[in-house]
């Protein structure tokens, strides 16, 4: 129950928004069919649905053969352009996410990480600021 409850809650919270349909990108060993994902809306929802896959629930990242950088207490978040550009364009192994997230979602999540996890850069980021960074055309395939 301790496990099921928060997931059910999260699902209920996300269910009110329209699901996005993601089709299998061509190439690579991947699944068939389509997947419909409830669209995360708030910065917290976007963080949990996307970012924490790598940066972890506590935003502390991780270290193995390489490093997933911590977002927690990270002075590089002082300017909003850096995290926006990482999300729009990708960075090294991190893919750009404009094919999965719209500018409003990106603005919400950048605002969220800049005001949580030991970061206190209060000024909210807008979708217009995100749009200012040229978006790559999204290529399919792996």
């Amino acid at each position: 129950m301790t496990i099921r409850f928060p997931i059910a809650l999260a699902a209920a919270a996300l269910a009110i928004t329209a699901p996005a349909v993601a089709q299998t990108p061509p190439g690579g060993d991947t699944g068939g069919g389509i997947v419909r994902i409830a669209k995360p809306v708030t910065g917290k929802e976007v963080y949990e649905a996307v970012c924490q896959a790598c940066h972890m629930a506590d935003a502390k990242g991780g270290v193995g053969a390489g490093t997933i950088p911590a977002l927690a207490s990270n002075p590089r978040l002082a300017g909003a352009a850096y995290p926006i550009s990482a999300i729009v364009l990708g960075k090294g192994g991190m893919p750009g996410l404009t094919g999965s997230l719209d500018d409003t979602q990106i603005a919400e999540v950048v605002t969220y990480i800049r005001t949580n996890f030991g970061n206190a850069y209060a000024k909210p980021v807008t979708a217009a600021e995100v749009a200012r960074i040229p978006h790559p055309t999204r290529g399919g395939g792996h």
């Binding site: 089709q23 060993d29 699944g31 069919g33 994902i37 991780g62 270290v63 490093t67 999965s100 792996h142």
Partner: protein
């Protein structure tokens, strides 16, 4: 006899072409002789005559690195392999009962599968045209068995169609084809295509639509024994008094046009997804283990590379032994680097700016796989599903059923998720326990009676959190290929890269091997010229 002796066999002819024109010419010749259009593999590299004392350091003991080490050792090089993990095989990997796996962030799973059961977190199926991999499997004694890729009797599930209930693949696919055939036949008969199709071909097309789409004499797709022979019966044909079959009702057109239906059908048309497919008997890592046996004693494990330097004389690789903490610098004349780009981009590597830009230009995908052990094979016993995949539009994306030990008693492991893109990000962000719970919730939609009841234990691998790769596969785009691919695969003085990321068969073991063969062939040539 005499004549036979003078006329070269096809094999002799091809060998001669290869000797004169190289493998590219051989490939062209084979293609024009009607062979081999499916692969660029023309046989193992025939490298020989390395300069006395010449040495190579190979970074990474995945398939690309192991093959490079094996072939270069055969050619006469002194080869050392550095590997970050305490095992060989790289992404060629199986988890079994008793194994532990710690992902980035520290969550540790102890796998609880019964003896003999396994889960392949990485590669799990081999196309019949991946001839490099198949060649080495045979050469290294890896037994293969069929991987049941296409099964008409699995489930298709869409949360938005068919009342949210799973339907059989064969029924949905038959109804899709039947409806499309009926509509197209209607267009032909209403003369809508008269401008595009000759009268003769209109007749041929109508005949095809009737035969392919199971239409009746009036070109209608209807509930009858013709459609039932594709989509299934309410009462299947039997013997005796009640032997006569009863056809089944059709699904509505709107439901049948749900993209889950046609995209599942189209999936199996993909070049790499076509049957026949194979898997190693006993788990995918049988391949990695067999490759590692060829280079026994040459692998240094637990080596975390921090610096790759080169000058005119050779290569120096600095690494930390992650067990002892000792820092070591290994030297060699040449380097084959198979470290995934997601990791390599973070290592202090002495290559051109262009090469470093290429290394950093390729992001990685982050699939999530979950292996669930069930106490019995209820999918076989209750649903007559023997291998193959059920597709769902939920985050888990599919359930794939085991291909081995069919009809067996006792526990079996199925693939309870192969999540990708947004579905994968979300599952990866959960704890391992939460992932299992989501897999059970979503899998229960396809097997409501037994999924949760028969669940025993499970393990998950979120590739974005795999400590030694920070991702699953390199994701090229047309644009990044254009800008960076040739730089990435080119030799950077004494260093050459290899792996699935340095191929056009990305995300497949075949790509890793083809890349490795190409890289070491060029390295050997360069070494002889140097």
């Amino acid at each position: 006899m005499e004549l036979g002796g003078r006329t070269p066999t096809r094999r002799q002819l091809l060998s001669a072409i290869a000797a004169v024109g190289g493998t590219a010419a051989l490939y062209q010749a084979m293609t024009s002789l009607g062979h081999a259009a499916e692969t660029q593999f023309t046989g193992p590299p025939n490298l020989a005559g390395a300069r006395k004392g010449a040495s190579v350091i190979v970074l990474g003991a995945g398939l690309a690195g192991l093959l490079a080490a094996h072939e270069l050792t055969k050619a006469g090089y002194k080869v050392q392999i550095l590997e970050y993990q305490d095992r060989a095989g790289g992404r060629n990997w199986s988890l079994r009962g008793g194994d532990t796996y710690t992902e980035l962030g520290g969550a540790t799973q102890k796998v609880g599968y019964a003896p003999g059961n396994y889960f392949n977190p990485g590669p799990w199926r081999i196309p019949h045209h991946h001839k490099t991999l198949l060649h080495y499997c045979k050469a290294f004694g890896v037994a293969l068995e069929p991987f049941i890729q296409f099964n008409h009797n699995t489930w298709i599930h869409s949360s938005e169609s068919f009342g949210g209930k799973p339907v059989r693949f064969k029924a949905a696919a038959a109804d899709f084809e039947g409806n499309v055939a009926e509509l197209l036949a209607k267009s032909v008969n209403q003369k809508a295509l008269d401008d595009q199709v000759t009268p003769e071909d209109r007749e041929r097309l109508l005949e095809a639509l009737k035969g392919w789409g199971m239409l009746d004499k009036d070109y209608r797709y209807a509930s009858n024994l013709r459609s039932a022979s594709h989509r299934g019966y309410d009462r299947p044909p039997g013997g005796g008094v009640n032997g006569a079959p009863i056809p089944s009702a059709l699904y509505g057109l709107h439901d049948v046009l749900d993209p889950q239906v046609w995209s599942s059908m189209a999936f199996f048309m993909g070049h790499e997804m076509q049957t026949t497919m194979f898997q190693p008997v006993g788990g995918m890592d049988m391949i990695g283990k067999a490759f590692a046996r060829q280079v026994e004693g040459q692998i240094t494990y637990n080596a975390k590379v921090s610096k790759i330097a080169q000058d005119d004389k050779g290569v120096a690789v600095t690494y930390t032994d992650t067990v002892t903490g000792k820092v070591v610098t290994a030297q060699a004349d040449w380097c084959v680097c198979t470290i995934p780009l997601s990791v390599l981009g973070q290592i202090d590597t002495q290559v051109t700016d262009e090469m470093m830009a290429a290394i950093k230009a390729v992001p990685y995908s982050g699939q999530v796989k979950i292996g669930l052990e069930m106490k019995r094979r209820f999918w076989e016993e209750e649903d007559s599903i023997f291998g193959g995949h059920s597709f769902t539009d939920q985050e888990i994306a599919l359930i794939s059923y085991p291909n081995n030990n069919l009809f067996g008693d006792g526990p079996a492991v199925l693939l309870g998720a192969f999540a990708r893109e947004m579905g994968a990000y979300r599952l990866a962000g959960l704890t391992p326990q939460q992932r299992i719970e989501v897999a059970l919730q979503q899998g229960s939609v396809l097997h409501p009676a037994s999924y949760r009841k028969e669940f025993s234990n499970g393990a998950s691998v979120a590739w974005s959190r795999v400590p030694w790769s920070l991702g699953c596969c390199a994701r090229w785009t047309e644009q990044s290929r254009k800008e960076h691919y040739q730089t990435l695969v080119g030799m950077d003085r004494r260093i050459v890269l290899a792996g699935e990321h340095a191929s056009y068969v990305g995300c497949w073991m075949e790509g890793a091997l083809l890349s490795s063969i190409d890289a070491i062939t060029r390295l050997h040539k360069r070494a002889l010229e140097a």
